[in-house]
Amino acid sequence: MLSFQNTKCECGHQNPVGTVLCESCGKPLEEAEAASTAPLEMRYDGAARRSQKTNPSIIDRVWNFFSSVKIAVWLIVITLIASMIGTIFTQESAFISFDPDTYYEEKYGWIGKLYYELGFSHTYETWWFTTLIVMIATSLVVCSLDRVLPLYKALSKQQVRKHVQFLKRQRTVYEGAVVGDAEEWVAEVEQQLKRKRYKVKREGTALLAEKNRFSRWGPYINHIGLIVFLLAVLLRSVPGWAMDSYLAIREGETLQIPETNYYLKNEKFTLDYYADDELPDELKGIPRPKLYQTDAILYECTADCDDPLKEPVLEEVSQHGIIVNDPMAYGGLKIYQFGYDDTPKLAAVKPVLVDKTTGKTYGPFELSMRNPQLNYELGPYTLELHSKYLDFAMDEKGEPRTKSDEPNAPAFIFMLKGPGLAEDGEPYMYFPRQIDKEKFSQDAINGDLANRFEIKVPSMEGVTFAGTVSTLNIRTEMAMPYIWTGTAIWIFGVFLGSYWHHRRIWLRIDEGRVLLGAHTNKNFHGMRADVASVLKKTGIDVEPKSLDNGGNRA
């Protein structure tokens, strides 16, 4: 391709190596291009790109690799396929707590195991996926620089009078006799073109009309936007720039936001469902949430923040009703409604102790799930709290344990002391919820003692439930302004490059015959329509389609 060394054009202009069309008169220089009669390759106006150097060094070779659009397309295609693979099975990041070691195999069999072992269960966080993105970013930078500079130079020093070959081999061409005086006719063409908002330059009977050159910068602007966007994404990995934590707050509770000086109070949680008359028949009776909102107050700690012995001094800084599409925002902190848990959970019960042999009842006593007393004096008997499980379960060895800190299945073991009982007391297990009592067979656990004593809740009076837990997502995203800036530049460039078209018309008259060539980077249909309309108004009637000279349909 770069076989020739003589880059001086017949018009006298010295062109850089790799130039396809003379920078000055547009005559085809490159051997293959010069020998052909097919429409010209007008990309970058035939200017030499940086990557077209003779004797490339190693840096040049790397540059050339990334400057290739072919490579860019391959990178896009590989990223595309990798992204597809990543959607086959649910990614690890979609789960809050699970064991990926076993999950994929259990759920999907051997293929799931393979998927996990190959790392596809976290495709988008793998080193090779990141490498692909980095390579695309490099390609964006290099491709753009390689082309935009020569193109800018070529477009800013255009000659009006172009070589006959250059004109004849445009994709839109008209040749014919001039009607009347040549100078007058060209002046008329100039007027018509100006009416179509072309910028016109004339040199005697040669003319260059141009419009919307700015649209040529569209692709480069959108690439710059993408680069800014990708760099901003990179910024997120700077410590402190991106924070992501979750806070489950019960109604009425105030909790510290981890790793900050802020405290958040869940003042009130509202959960509304659609009423049946608002729902279509098929959805009637199925709860469908209408609204869930956390009325939250944000406090900043002003004193005694780290002293465990003192209550921190809090100062209210913000108040907001947080709903899904409307987070609370304060000083770089954003608090989102993430979810809620409204399954009723016991807060406290008021049970009594029944002596089954005498039928006498003692109590009631207040038993709080979270803060039970250690001792309850009930007539002649004493209940001593031995242990407490909020979310009772048995582990593999059959030992009792608690699954979570939520009172989903509370259980208490009391030491019952009193007349007729062992000196150290006898253990009595108590499940406040009837369902747990049956599920875990309370009576069987208590054995003989169950025949003599029972702790039970005589009525719903005194039974209280805990408020709904609202899960909030707390985020800091310092990179957001940069991400949005990049996005804005990107989309601006995409529109600029797509919806405006750079159009140029060259014209010269030699011995009473006009030769017109026109070029656009997009939409040749519109280009031909423009030329035909101008010709028509100056007395030459042509079908737009007849101007088509074939060639690359880019």
Partner: protein, 421 residues
Amino acid sequence: MNSSLLTFSSDAYLVAFFLYCLGFISYGITIAGARYTKRDPKAYMKRWGRISYVISLLGFVSHVAFFFTRWIGGGHIPTSNMYEFISFLAMMIMLAFVVVHAIYRKAVIGLFTLPLIVIIVAYSMVFPQEVQPLIPALQSYWLKIHVTTAALGEAFFAVGFATALLQLLRVVDFREKSPRARRSQRWVEIVMIVGVIMIGYLVSVFGFRAAGYEAVFVQENVTITDAGVDNTETDEVVYSLPPIFKPFNSQVQEIDSFIGLKDGVFETPHWMKGVDAARKLNTIIWSIIAGLVVYAIIRLILRKPIGAVLHPFTRGIDPDDLDEISYRTIAIGYPLFTLGALVFAMIWAYEAWSRFWGWDPKEVWALITWLYYTAYLHLRLSRGWHGEKSAWLAVIGFIVVMFTLVGVNLVLVGLHSYAGV
């Protein structure tokens, strides 16, 4: 909810559907008639092209009436579930067609765009049509902005696809016997078969729905809880097509008679978890069988591949025009898609879900679609891919679009599942 308005709305939709069908037939007459007419074919095309366009436009007006009455009657923009979204997409395809028609004024664009709209409108009717009040995640003005812009972009891709398919029928020579030509012929025919399978799907769904067919299966699943207790859960699934494949380990509870079928013919393999997977598999198998039967009948009547029959009708069309229209349509859709499906999506995701990007399957597939059309544009602009190559890319691109819109919701799981059936 205003039920009389909603009734009017559904009627308007039905009217739009029939007008689109009529528009399609009329476009068929335009193209086919131009070949056989004894008068000037150009004048004939012009006359019939205008008639077809007006009929299609009336369909569009009716469609718009459906959209706005449903919006007012239902209280929110009708783009929030599968039925609403797909009917909206069809409306946007019609809008894209109007725009492209205004630029190029070519009747041929309608020849494949109208049947595409007809199929998509019919497909929307497969899904439940009730107005469902919005869940909190969807209560945002971004529902209006994000969904509509993305759908409009996709609609241009759809028109680009329809034109590219026509271009392929035009440029693939069905008489030639070289291996390359044969390969093109085969692939064009495969696209035709896929279209027929889609019709087969619609015919079987609406056929059995009209007959009121139902089969109910119950699947028992035993799991062992933490407490070591057996926990039996039963799942029930209602089939609206006769069960070729019944759910794994399931019992018939109720079955309507269909050629003496008392139980599923086959059992779905155990690795297809859940009763819904079995139902979907059954639907796919049914569509393929019904589609292939329809295709066999067509072949028996035509005695030639569908492509070979359609090809002669396209001879009067300039393939370069089709190439340009297809490409330009995609180039118009690309910025809109970028804006709606990526930029607006990121802004909304940041507001609702606290992150602008989360690798949710729907997000990833929007990105895949975008990467795909980005590659298309680069190949065309910088690598000179045009003509047949570019037309194939446009056809495959639409398959990617449809998977993003429908496939992801039906096959993959993720945050966008509320748009599902």
